[in-house]
């Protein structure tokens, strides 16, 4: 149960960098327009960011992941989130076994 000075310094640097990214949005938000193209862009942001985070895994890893992602999308339109996750995880395990990846 020890903390070295160098490790503490690194953790504080990471914490400062991370908080800086998270708090900065509060200050730019006041300048965000209420309508028009910039507003449409901002409204699309959640779906665009989430998609970008998962796209490499979902569409560019291998056939098992891509097919499982497709099955997950179908499940997501019909099932609650937790059930969707179970369907996706089971699908990827089965497909990896079947496809040998």
């Amino acid at each position: 149960m020890t903390v070295t000075l160098a490790n503490l310094l690194a953790i504080l640097a990471m914490a400062a960098a991370t908080y800086a990214t998270r708090v900065s949005g509060l200050f730019i938000a006041d300048r965000i327009p209420k309508s028009g193209r910039a507003r449409a862009a901002l409204d699309a942001l959640p779906a665009a960011v989430l998609t970008a985070v998962i796209a490499p895994t979902a569409v560019a890893t291998g056939p098992a992941e891509t097919i499982a992602a497709g099955i997950t999308v179908l499940a997501a339109f019909r099932l609650p989130l937790l059930a969707t996750v179970v369907v996706g995880v089971v699908a990827v395990v089965v497909l990896r076994l079947l496809l040998g990846s």
Partner: protein, 236 residues
């Protein structure tokens, strides 16, 4: 410092928040254990891992940091890596802050401290159907925060005795959660074009450019499509 101070915090909002974040909280368990085990193998103590989780609270940047960790710790490189990986939070925070209408200033300042991907996504999803309350938001935040600390520190204590999460398909759990959340943002054909642009650009950039730039590139492509497709006369 109770978050219920000054703002009504109905128990129902807390319960709804905990239920909304539950799938993500379950899904991070194997990753928390794995991160702790990896940190232990790099010589980090349970207290240091707890401090990192408690002060940084950003899973993907913690994984990258542990991967890069040497002794003495290269604090500048680790801080810069965290900045790059978490740049997407600038966009997320700008977006969610417009839903913080019922938050006091100190609540906003504290809220963004726990603005991890999962919490942000759940909060944005909530704001689509009803006003985002501090009670709902902090329920998701506190629950995922404590959950993350418990499992990462436990992973450090248990060490490398755990297996590969990929064998059980756990690595796909986050992809599945995020797919579920993206579908929740579906608002017709226009959303489809946004998602397609974001996915294609992110997948290409991830292959072509080292580092986490694909997230920013994909997100920018998606919102660019949304801006282009926006009706010019849209005024409401």
């Amino acid at each position: 410092m109770s978050v219920s101070n000054g703002v009504s915090a109905p128990a129902a909002e807390w319960r709804a928040g905990i239920m909304a974040i539950m799938p993500a909280a379950i899904a991070v368990v194997p990753f928390g254990l794995l991160l702790g085990a990896a940190a232990a193998s790099k010589g980090l103590s349970p207290l240091e891992v707890g401090l990192m989780g408690g002060l940084v609270f950003a899973g993907s940047s913690q994984f990258v940091a542990v991967d890069l960790w040497t002794h003495p710790a290269p604090w500048l490189a680790l801080g810069f890596a965290a900045l790059l990986i978490n740049l997407r939070h600038v966009l997320m925070s700008a977006s969610i802050s417009s839903k913080f209408g019922s938050f006091a200033p100190w609540q906003k300042t504290l809220a963004v401290f726990v603005l991890a991907d999962e919490i942000w996504a759940v909060a944005e999803r909530r704001a689509l159907s009803q006003p985002l309350t501090p009670a709902f938001y902090f329920a998701t935040g506190v629950f995922l925060y404590v959950n993350w600390l418990v499992w990462t520190v436990l992973g450090t204590v248990l060490g490398a005795a755990m297996g590969d999460p990929k064998a059980m398909g756990f690595d796909f759990a986050f992809t599945a959660i995020f797919i579920g959340l993206v579908v929740g943002f579906w608002q017709g054909r226009r959303t489809g074009f946004v998602i397609a642009a974001s996915a294609i650009v992110a997948a290409i950039v991830e292959k072509a450019v080292e580092g986490p730039w694909y997230v920013l590139a994909g997100a920018l492509a998606g919102i660019a499509v949304a801006a282009i497709m926006a009706p010019a006369e849209k005024a409401a």
